[in-house]
Symmetry: C2
Subunit: 308 residues, 2 copies
């Protein structure tokens, strides 16, 4: 089968670290052009923006957007209107309404839109989902604690309006928990700790519930030095089920069942190719919806200023 | 036709001022019981809470909830699980996720869920929608300015997390604009002015756009003494279309077309009866979605403390 020619927009850290190697490992797709104002890659045509790429490369069937979510609507809409399939790095946009509009545009134009959640592609997530579908769940505790200075050194956009703050990693946890739990979730209450000199939270404590009332708690903190924690513990009738390392490791009753390396992005691109072949879209906005809802009903508390 | 027996929960200001007269004017429904911890109405059985009402009154087919949105999930879920139809005063809940879960429960149980937006039932809204379906729209400007001390004297819940602040009236504007515009909307940027001693905004300036890029601005302010303004101006090719008085008045090119009194709530109850008869639900969460998205991406600015 001839690989589908694809363009990549936004050649930043996440693109270089994850998207380029994953694309190279995906036989169904072939990277043929870059759109980035700062230039491209050796041997590939590069364009300053997506409009230029779309105009110059009519044979490119698909685009993957690794640009910041804030400016992405016009880029994605232009690609969709030009009849190209679109894949969105997480978070898929700065608001739920905006991505729902993109999904409606993609439906109308008959192209694939894939709003990715890379943590859902972590190695142990599917097995956790399968086990929890059979379990009687009593409570869920999410702990997502990392050092913002280590993962986002000197980055300002995460602190600006729309930048999500600690929900930038936290939404990964929410993308996994909404995938593995058999019931829908909604937030009951939240405390958002916002540095006095910033717009977005550096920490959050969230109380959620499933439709039938199972409590789901989340503790997000961006001030954790030393060991980093990305863990979801599920108390069941029977042995406790624990997803750790962001979804790569699964233990059941203290016994490790799966402990795998990182292959999230190759799985995302394989899925994108499948969706294109099937003429389907995948746009599940539940994780972003939870974040928007938590911002809507959360209590804000000012905490110590943060200089990163 | 025998009227459907209905119970009302939450006998507060909005219930007494709007819901009771509207129910009395709706032949298809008959109010038969009240659930409110503070007691009921002369001549009707009253229960301290919804669970007591549901248990004691198996023949009540429907419930209308006028309780504060924060505690409403358990009430609505209990009624739905007991097989009763449910109508929700606006806003339908404290989060989009929560009301989506209620909608899923109602579908599964085969009962009607009606998330009302009373301003959509204002006299001139349908005619505005009809005209705008034919128009080429260039820009939309929403001005929603009122005096919080006049409309919410001494009320604390509006300033607490989940209380919406100036979006409590502002969501009425958003419910109308999402009804009359032929295209979907999403927010681009917003400034939320939050009193230093409160959690929710007292004013907001919002920039939104339609799917095709038409700018939609909104200016919400709760500090307006003197004349109160609830107006949506639509600049079109051709005469300007202006909805004012919260949707009761329509003028086209400066000529008044409709100027009617308030009959919003009787229309809502007539619609609820229709939905029950048709076995259908109506849950359009676009207005609450916009508010959640605006809280998600809006910039917060602290302003003068408010003592109301």
């Amino acid at each position: 089968m001839t690989p589908t020619p694809i363009g990549l927009a936004g050649l930043g850290t996440i693109a270089r670290k994850q998207h380029l190697p994953a694309l190279a490992a995906t036989p169904a797709l072939r990277l043929v052009a870059i759109a980035d104002p700062a230039g491209g890659l050796d041997g590939l045509p590069a364009y300053p923006d997506i409009d230029a790429l779309l105009a110059a490369e009519p044979e490119i069937a698909a685009l993957t957007l690794c640009t910041p979510p804030q400016g992405r609507f016009d880029q994605a809409a232009a690609a969709i209107r030009a009849g190209r399939h679109v894949m969105l790095e997480k978070p898929p946009g700065p608001s739920v309404s905006e991505v729902e509009t993109l999904a409606a545009l993609a439906r109308a134009r008959g192209v694939t839109l894939f709003a990715t959640w890379h943590s859902r592609a972590a190695a142990a997530v599917e097995e956790a989902r399968r086990r929890l579908a059979q379990a009687t769940i009593r409570a869920v505790e999410i702990t997502w604690k990392e050092d913002v200075r280590r993962w986002h050194p000197g980055q300002d956009w995460i602190w600006q309006p729309g930048g999500l703050g600690v929900f930038d990693p936290g939404i990964n946890a929410l993308s996994v928990v909404t995938q593995i739990l058999p019931e829908r979730l909604h937030p009951m209450a939240a405390v958002l700790e916002v540095p006095a000199n910033r717009q977005t939270p550096i920490a959050a404590q969230i109380r959620m519930r499933t439709a039938s009332g199972v409590p789901v708690g989340a503790d997000f903190d961006w001030r954790q030095t030393g060991p980093q924690t990305w863990e979801i513990r599920v108390l069941c009738d029977g042995p406790e089920i624990v997803l750790s390392d962001g979804g790569a490791t699964l233990s059941v009753g203290g016994q490790t069942q799966i402990a795998a390396g990182d292959a999230e992005y190759p799985r995302l691109y394989a899925r994108f190719a499948e969706l294109i072949a099937a003429g389907a879209s995948e746009v599940d906005l539940a994780p972003l919806q939870l974040v928007a809802d938590i911002f809507l009903l959360g209590e804000r508390r000012l905490v110590e200023a943060f200089d990163g």
